[in-house]
């Protein structure tokens, strides 16, 4: 509990969060806040605990300690589908699309249980024109890049007030990764609050205004993106600068 819990204007505030699998914690005492309209990145290498952190926030696993507050209310331990309905959308690295359903059906499910808003669907197609071309195709037949677009698009359909993205560039070629980040930047500019966990540190720091570094399940450095990009430790570990 580094920071005292204060009722702030933060849309997401995580305090003292520890969680893991089969009785063994993978992340320890994580605390951070995200304000509305912000884009924040959490950078760390493979296995540093990024996915575990997101899963703990979404109650996909039960935290051993700590609290998660979203939009002013405590959501710690709330069922995942309830959290999703509150407007906290999560795009996991594995995407979890519905492979035997069409692109449109996947998008419609994003709005569950509400009636899908055609205007939002149009805006998704506007950000990802490729999805509009593939409307009737089964999600399982899409390419990796298209699947990533669909995963993000599906999350957007619920009109989320916060979008958590876990390694949105997993399995994408560099060119496609850059394109994906261009789309994310557009969403950020439209006012969507974003938290992106990433190994592709240059892209992530460019998108986000500030970031946290997670290592072996603990938060270390944090600060504005330019500061992190200039930090010799970050440069050595994640930016490939010798």
């Amino acid at each position: 509990m580094r920071e005292p819990v204060v009722v702030s204007g933060a849309i997401l505030s995580v305090a003292g969060l520890s969680a893991g699998y089969v009785g063994e914690d993978v992340i320890y005492d994580i605390g951070f806040e995200v304000d509305e309209g912000e884009a924040v990145t959490i950078i760390g290498s493979n296995g540093a605990g990024k996915s575990t952190l997101f899963r703990a926030i979404m109650s996909m696993l039960t935290p051993s300690a700590g609290t998660v507050r979203f939009d002013g209310s405590d959501i710690t331990g709330l069922a995942t589908h309830r959290i999703a309905r509150l407007g906290l959308a999560y795009v996991p690295a594995e995407r979890h699309l519905f492979p035997q359903m069409s692109v449109t059906e996947n998008l419609l499910l994003g709005a569950f249980p509400d009636r899908p808003d055609p205007a939002i669907q149009d805006s998704v197609f506007d950000v990802f024109p490729r999805l509009a071309e593939r409307k009737t195709q089964d999600a399982g037949t899409l390419s990796g890049g298209e699947q990533q677009m669909l995963a993000v698009g599906r999350a957007l359909m619920s009109k989320p007030s916060l979008l958590l993205l876990d390694e949105p560039t997993t399995g994408l070629a560099p060119l496609l990764a850059a394109e994906a980040y261009k789309a994310l930047a557009r969403l950020r500019d439209d006012g969507l609050t974003l938290v992106v966990a990433e190994q592709q540190v240059p892209l992530a720091l460019e998108l986000a205004s500030r970031g946290y570094v997670i290592d072996h399940g603990r938060f270390g450095l944090s600060g504005p993106s330019e500061e992190l990009a200039g930090n010799p430790e970050v440069q050595r570990a994640y930016l490939g600068v010798a």
Binding site: H81, P92, F98, L109, F112, P113, R154
Partner: protein, 286 residues
């Protein structure tokens, strides 16, 4: 020949509906409902008992379907909770054995209390000629109800939010949760739906012949065969397999003889498993 074919399609549609109930529950939870036929017949027996008290057919049927649905729904909310806590093979084995036990309980109960109770809905009216084949009004009404139910089901799964929610849980439970779908609710709903469908099949079958306690196992077996051939977890596969097997059923009993028919159907199921375990339209198991 033509009449056997038409008969087969009528029968097959009902087989399909029987298989759908089984396949949905398996696709969703990994539980192979070996009490499916028992639940179906239980509903029919309730209808028969209620009609015996002088209740008109329609409310009696609705009550019977409600009982079939309620039994499965109650199972989901009680016994099956233990199954859902398990994973993989253990879950499948436990679900299968528990349902086998439940099936025996219903079987025993029916044989004990209502050994001779049978539902036979006689539908009046003269046979009607279709494509040159005279069909009884009973079998026409049964097909009509089955076809309408099938279409409603397809529309439900394609066009409604809840229907898509059910399919989403079958395909990727975690993805469904992230979309705000509550898998526990979907499960309970599908158990209830499956029970109602099972009861409905028993009721429509009773329009062409009496249905009673001695039909339970053959119903379960048929549902199993249809679901396996169609691909466990595939709704459209179940309907396709139902019609196919219905036609095979009628043709082989027309040309070869009845005792071989069941064997042929069983061999179809066994061969499907050995050749392509995912069935006609099922996706390969992950």
């Amino acid at each position: 020949m033509k009449s056997a074919l038409l008969d087969g399609i009528v029968l097959g549609l009902q087989y399909g509906l029987l298989g759908v109930g089984l396949t949905l529950i398996y696709g969703l939870t990994g539980v192979l409902n070996l009490a499916h036929g028992q639940i179906a017949v239980l509903g029919a027996v309730v209808v028969s008992l209620l009609m015996g008290t002088g209740l008109p057919a329609v409310p009696a049927i609705l009550a019977g379907l409600a009982v079939s649905g309620a039994v499965l729904l109650a199972l989901d909310l009680s016994v099956m909770r233990v199954v859902y806590r398990q994973e993989g093979e253990t879950r499948i084995l436990l679900g299968l054995l528990l349902m086998l036990g439940v099936g025996f309980m219903i079987d025993g109960f029916l044989a004990w209390r209502y050994p001779i109770e049978q539902l036979g809905l006689r539908i009046g009216g003269d046979p009607i000629s279709i494509l040159g084949v005279r069909m009884s009004t009973g079998s026409l009404l049964a097909s009509a109800i089955t076809i309408v139910t099938g279409l409603v089901l397809v529309a439900f799964f394609r066009l409604t939010s809840l229907g898509r929610g059910v399919r989403s849980v079958i395909q990727d439970e975690m993805g469904a949760r992230l979309c705000g779908v509550n898998p526990a609710f979907v499960r309970t709903f599908v158990f209830g739906l499956s029970g109602v469908l099972a009861g409905l099949v028993a009721v429509t079958r009773s329009m062409t012949g009496p249905i009673g306690a001695n039909n339970t196992i053959s119903f379960t077996v048929l549902a199993l065969i249809v679901a396996v051939v169609g691909g466990l977890g595939s709704v459209s596969g179940a309907f396709l397999a139902g019609v196919l097997l219905g036609v095979v059923d009628r043709l082989s009993s027309f040309y070869i003889g009845t005792y071989i028919t069941t064997i042929i159907l069983l061999v179809c199921a066994a061969l499907t498993i050995v050749a392509k375990p995912s069935g006609l339209l099922g996706r390969p198991s992950t």
